[in-house]
Symmetry: C2
Subunit: 167 residues, 2 copies
């Protein structure tokens, strides 16, 4: 009895997911959040978020600008950067520093001290929540430092790519 639980093998962080559901959930979540916080989910902001959640992979600001242009929006740099900053501020987008790229948050309801796991070969990026990353932040060394923001990125090679490597 019991359906097979997803993520029973917890180590497969790069595995695919039901992206149709993911996309819909994400849109619903951002809509609800914006209403609740009395923020404006304008066409531009919505479009930027959709662009990011659609591919669900990191995109550079100028890639986003291209897509905005094709969708009829202005595509001068400040347009993208401003909206991205706004979405980041509200936890719906993260910047992946190691790639100078932006990615939709996998779960805005969770902590905002996420870890990004980046395969240098297939370039897949997985967001791992604080709870699951095992990175227990505030150490004795840094207890009197007030952490406001974290950048935690683990770069390496995923098992799939490693197995494929010619050694």
């Amino acid at each position: 009895m019991k359906k097979k639980k997803k993520n029973e093998n917890s180590s497969k962080i790069f595995e695919g997911h039901d992206h149709g559901a993911c996309f819909g959930d994400a849109i619903t979540q951002i809509e609800d959040y914006f209403i609740q916080k009395k923020l404006q989910l304008t066409p531009l902001r919505r479009k930027v978020f959709e662009i990011l959640i659609e591919d669900h992979k990191p995109l550079g600001a100028y890639e986003i600008l291209d897509k905005l242009g094709k969708a009829g929006f202005s595509s001068s740099p400040p347009i993208a950067y401003r909206v991205l900053d706004f979405l980041i501020e509200h936890g719906f987008v993260h910047k992946v520093q190691g790639l100078n790229a932006f990615i939709a948050c996998s779960n805005p309801k969770h902590s905002h001290f996420p870890t990004f796991v980046i395969c240098r070969k297939c370039e897949k990026v997985a967001e791992v929540s604080e709870e699951k990353s095992g990175l227990n932040l505030p150490s004795p060394e840094i207890t009197n430092f007030k952490i406001e923001k974290t950048t935690i990125e683990l770069t390496g090679i995923c098992s799939t790519c490693e197995n494929a490597e010619i050694r």
Copy 2:
């Protein structure tokens, strides 16, 4: 008798240190390492490292280039970036992604999964070794991902600056 032990209060990661000794030690360490590994510690490489260890704070590539220029070296961008890449590769320099800047490693003998603690107000940056950061990386979630490089940066406000803030 006993000299006062440094870092007895382990939480004061931003505290000053005996930089004369630090500077000397760092130079000795890099010299030894280069000899042992049969690498060339050329005047340019030495100068770049000296520039970084002298201030012992993050410097942008173009700041380093300025200083190189004033010291009689070429100051076109590839000069700095090449040497920085080399020093990073060998663990004597780290890049602080959040600042697009480079900083001399506080202890090249230690792990190379360091944590950087960055005060957004006074802009001080402290490198905390893996051992002391409390960030025990390989979590169950990511055990079949081979980590090659980490970027761990904690941005916030140090206790000194927080106490000084007008609330």
